[in-house]
Amino acid sequence: MLGIEKRDLSLLVIVAILAFCAPFILNPFPTGSAMAQFNAGYPDLMQRFVIFGILAIGFNILFGLTGYLSFGHAAFLGLGSYSAVWMFKLLGYNVLPGIVLSVVVAGLFALLIGYISLRRSGIYFSILTLAFAQMTFAIAYSDLFGKMLGFSLTNGETGLQVYTSDPQYFHSDSAPNIPHLFGQEMQSTFTWDVAGWSFDFNFGYYMCALIMLVMFYLSIRIFRSPFGLMLMAIKTNQTRLNYTGLNSRPYTLAAFVISGMYAGLAGGLLASMDPLAGAERMQWTASGEVVLMTILGGAGTLIGPILGAGFIKYFENIFSKINEKVLHSWFDFLPESLEYGVVWVLEHFVGSGWHLTLGLLFMLIVIFLPGGLVEGGQKLAALFHRKKTEDTPADGAKTPAE
């Protein structure tokens, strides 16, 4: 079905079920209970799960398949956001033109940046993309082109936003004054209260989830296509590929542009959920986060990037919420001196110390689990599997002895 193999289809179905039941899955604890702080089913956070999922899926097409480590993907995310907000300013709050333009703009920039950066490989490529991303960041932050052209293109450090004085040529009075899709507001949320639980069904989230599923399907098709095989061949041994007389650059460029368009789409969606675009979205730490998501989940695997994006965004949310007080309430069963010791150690990692946890996680994953969560899962599965197979011959050996 859908032109993909049964295994991939089941993967797609699992992701689809997870995405559509997310409001239930992410809210396992009743509101008002002590565990409610581990709930993650708010519309805002769920939207970020799927949007960063799209970003990571796109990054994986470049990094996972070709092995080219781009350190500048946040630039496309930011460019997507800026183009979407410009569409809101000029045309009105319907998100469709904004999303389409963000993909197109990111694609064009990816073509330009990729054409130059892909002349080199390895570390040179990483640094070139980093240089381009930092340049884009600096241009957006200081509004260089806007100042040269005499109007505000990116609105500098304040960030681009929609004002009432903006033209919005296609804005009709009946349409809502916030981002919407043909009248359906992104923010509109249906809350279902049932026996202490409360589940939020948000229109914006379901739109993003649907787009994410389409993008995931596309990435499966790319992975299984001859084009995807060619990209994997580039990762395995580019020199040998070149010796066979094949020019690999068009393939890597295509992968770069595709992944740039994914990032642009994610940026456009971010702006659609919250019509604001700031330069800090393009900073290189943001690029690093995308890399981490992909690595954490498992670069080169289909499901890995989505897992990684969800994992990071979930723990970012949870860890940032915990503070010293919460820690003390958790460990007050310990003797006092021990309690203070434990809290002193742990408070480095929570609250504003989340970045420290992120950095440590980054190192641990790269050192011990280069294949990410997917590899970890496979190893675990293999461990249990081996145990079973070891058990069987042991039983078999016993039987004849009797």
Binding site: G67, L69, S126, L144, H355, F362, M363
Partner: protein, 343 residues
């Protein structure tokens, strides 16, 4: 003419910092073949050596004044730093005043030790892994170091003033026959430039004129053959890593008075230093130094008001722009050799 001279001088101090960091990066890359994204963090740690020493020297005993009272009518608290108690008023205050240059003495062993621990504990295990893995693990390490410093020293820049003797500026123009107050240059920047020049010269002399340096250079060219000759090249490369860390740390120590150290200064310099290394040519030490000074001076020219009025914000992007152009025209960088990082 005077404006040009002034911008060249202004570019020298930033260029010195770029050159020192890029030199360390190139040393590590040339010897161990590792791309060290944590090098900026080492620069930052050096600056925080100076901050720590300054804080340490200002530890004081508190005594209550018998005669003076504060505005609440209570006895005034007088803080006397321990060093003043120990060495007397004049010497003690002089030590506190000179805390930044003194930090060099403690920074060298600390940075070499950190370099050793980093290489033996972490980077050693990454020689055979792909470059992407090396980048990622050192990037993670950089985040960890940065966040720890942020946790203990706070997010705000901490001023580390230069000694009183170096406050004020040198009227450089008068020496060359220009009008007074046209070309003035702060003494500390001059000190920083000379300090950087001494360190760069020291590293080159060490590599050029000592047996140890000769072996290291031989190892950079052909590691395997040197190993086959019965020389423990790994040990020497580890020492070179320590030296590279110390160079970055010293660059950081002395940079404190120019820009107050904050926890993200390493990252700010790192990205530019990588660009410097690539422009200079990966693996080329003279290239790194040349490109460092060149880009520093270029950045200073771009921040001139005359140029900024035509291209506002050009000073932010000039380095990247030049790097992209140079890589397109000379893909190996200014002084890059064939065969380095070509795969």
């Amino acid at each position: 003419m005077d404006a040009i001279l002034l911008q060249i001088l202004n570019g020298l101090d930033k260029g010195s910092a770029y050159a020192l960091i890029a030199l360390g990066l190139t040393l590590i890359f040339g010897t161990l073949g590792v791309v060290n994204f944590a090098h900026g963090a080492l620069f930052m740690l050096g600056a925080f050596c100076a901050v720590s020493l300054q804080k340490l020297l200002q530890l004081s005993t508190v005594t209550l004044s018998e005669t003076e009272k504060n505005f609440l009518g209570q006895p005034l608290e007088i803080k006397t730093p321990y060093v003043v108690n120990w060495f007397g008023e004049a010497t003690g205050q002089a030590i506190i005043d000179w805390s930044v240059p003194l930090a060099i003495i403690i920074a060298i062993p600390i940075m070499i030790a950190i370099g050793f621990i980093m290489e033996r504990g972490l980077i050693k295990h990454f020689y055979k892994r792909p470059h992407a893995d090396q980048i990622l693990v050192t990037f993670g390490l950089a985040i960890v170091i940065q966040e720890l410093v942020k946790h203990y020293y706070g997010a705000n820049p901490i001023p580390t003033p230069a000694p009183d003797a170096f406050k004020g500026s040198l009227d450089f123009g008068v020496m060359l026959g220009f009008d007074p107050n046209v070309i003035i240059y702060p003494y500390w920047r001059l000190v920083y430039f000379m300090f950087a020049a001494v360190i760069i010269a020291g590293v080159f002399a060490f590599l050029q004129f000592t047996t140890f340096g000769m072996v290291v250079r031989a190892g950079m060219t052909d590691r395997e053959t040197v190993g086959l000759l019965g020389i423990n090249i790994d040990k020497r490369f580890t020492i070179m890593f320590g030296i590279a860390a110390a160079v970055a740390g010293l660059a950081g120590v002395m940079y404190g008075p120019i820009n107050s150290p904050n926890y993200h200064m390493g990252m700010d310099f790192l990205v530019l230093s990588f660009v410097v290394v690539v422009v200079g040519g990966m693996g080329s030490l003279p290239g790194a130094v040349l490109a460092g000074f060149m880009l520093g001076i270029l950045e200073s020219f771009a921040s001139m008001n005359e140029i900024k009025s035509i291209f506002p914000g050009i000073d932010q992007i000039i380095i990247y722009l030049v790097a992209i152009i140079i890589l397109l025209v000379r893909p190996r960088g200014l002084m890059g050799r064939k065969g380095v990082m070509e795969d």
